[in-house]
Point group: C2
Chain length 338, copies 2
Amino acid sequence: MSETITLNPGELETLVRRALVASNTSENTAGSVARALVTAECAGQKGHGISRVASYSAQARSGKVDGHATPTLTAVKTATVHIDANHGFAYPAIDLAIETLPALTREHGLSAVGINHSHHSGQAGYHVERLAQQGVIAMMFGNSPQAIAPWGSTTPVYGTNPLAFAAPRKDASPLVVDLSLTKVARGKIMVAAKNDEAIPQGWALGPDGEPTTDPHLALKGTMLPIGDAKGAALAMVFEILAVALTGANFGYEASSFFEAEGDRPGVGQILIAFATDGIRDEGVFADRLEALLGLVASQEGVRLPGTRSQALKQVALKDGVTVSRAILADVQKIASSL
Amino acid sequence: MSETITLNPGELETLVRRALVASNTSENTAGSVARALVTAECAGQKGHGISRVASYSAQARSGKVDGHATPTLTAVKTATVHIDANHGFAYPAIDLAIETLPALTREHGLSAVGINHSHHSGQAGYHVERLAQQGVIAMMFGNSPQAIAPWGSTTPVYGTNPLAFAAPRKDASPLVVDLSLTKVARGKIMVAAKNDEAIPQGWALGPDGEPTTDPHLALKGTMLPIGDAKGAALAMVFEILAVALTGANFGYEASSFFEAEGDRPGVGQILIAFATDGIRDEGVFADRLEALLGLVASQEGVRLPGTRSQALKQVALKDGVTVSRAILADVQKIASSL
């Protein structure tokens, strides 16, 4: 039997929703989480896809995540909004931010929503892409449990800290940039540890601050940031924007996004949107953007950021999404446990 | 005779101002430029310091920079402003942005100023630090002439593209992060080329896209971004914010910041400020920030970003700033050419 199976994304979403509803989560929240996880799965971002269902469900069952929380919104200044995720999943809070930002942005030229008491935000590109589909330029900064040390230290403080950016285009899908500040995803080291395989030099440091190829030591040590001291400084900036402004927990205070026990992670996110006519006419932005992207896309060996994920999503919609049979069986088991 | 000389920063600023006034530049603009260059010199950022006076003066004399331009400000949306630098130096336009942003930010929670028809913005940290001194959190993104290739390409498109961030602190100087997206400053390769010395692997690629240790080939090739594909994607994001939104010139369209001949560079900058009480109470921000910075600063081997520059500025104010005699002689010669 093949290790994978291809199925309809809509059916997969229904199944994931059922698994969450069976795990002490409201219908609305389960729908929001299922959409996010299945979209990431279809986009080839399997680390943010249905592999998360088991740990999400366990956290909702244990109460570490409040599956029945609804996010609460407070207008703060004319162009800024606070959303308290109330220790629920991040996705309903981010959905509410995405509903709120476009009108506010068009009125003021830019606007921001800060979220606290939040959880794993998944594929950050999915969130900003939805804003760009509504015609605004969007950035999102978030934090995650400690992984990166301040440069010179051996103690992790900052998360791997995602950044996503999206811009609407005239006659094409939005441009989407989605990255984290570590040289590689922590998930790659977790896979290597599971398989007891060495990791390349340059991915991580051991607890002693020395480079290591042992994934077990790496998981006890720190992840190397892009650009060394520069990436560590960027990780600090993202913590300040997503956490200090919103009153969330810093990376070093946040519990695991995977384990069902322990305190609530309480991380933060901030979404900032810009109107395409916020500084100059909309046509200036559209023309300038196409000039840049046209030049970049015409270069040999270059692929615009985000295009692989977008192409995979198209394929998934047309031909179905291919998932691991083992992970699917886990989801089915959780869904049938109601 | 020593190759350096120590002098009073105020006297140095007067001298730089005179050199610019002697080079077809208005008193006001010369004052703004002199303050920026001498502040960078005092902060140990000599690449953005008085070494620039000769090329700035030559550009003002040739008319490549309009030394008599005054920036024009247009309120666009309630929280966004456009400033046209009118092909003058960047500093008067950035000064105007810094005057404009704090009140707008306090009213709306955040605000942004986009600048086009601009020039070299120098030490980006100087600009955001002045905003933080007025109590707002600030970010600045800018672009510069082409240096970084889209990942996979051998043709430079994006600038080295500075990012600066500053946050006000309760009882301390602002936190200031100031970095560019290349692994090393282009100036280091220019110095190596001048001295015909090899550069380390990993700084740059030659025109063929292969790693090179030859600084001359490196200057004809591309600078390596931090985090490889990630840094190249960030460079694209900065170009979109600082250029597509403002109607400026992209890195691949911008002429040199050094040469007196050629088209005007016409680059862009965007400054974004956040109120410390934009999302939560001001006390939440202040307390959270101090918790993070206190922890980071307490770690062995760690220095908070920006503290070296701030300490050097203190020393310069007290004991004078040490500059190259050769560069000082150039500035004196230009100043006495009135």
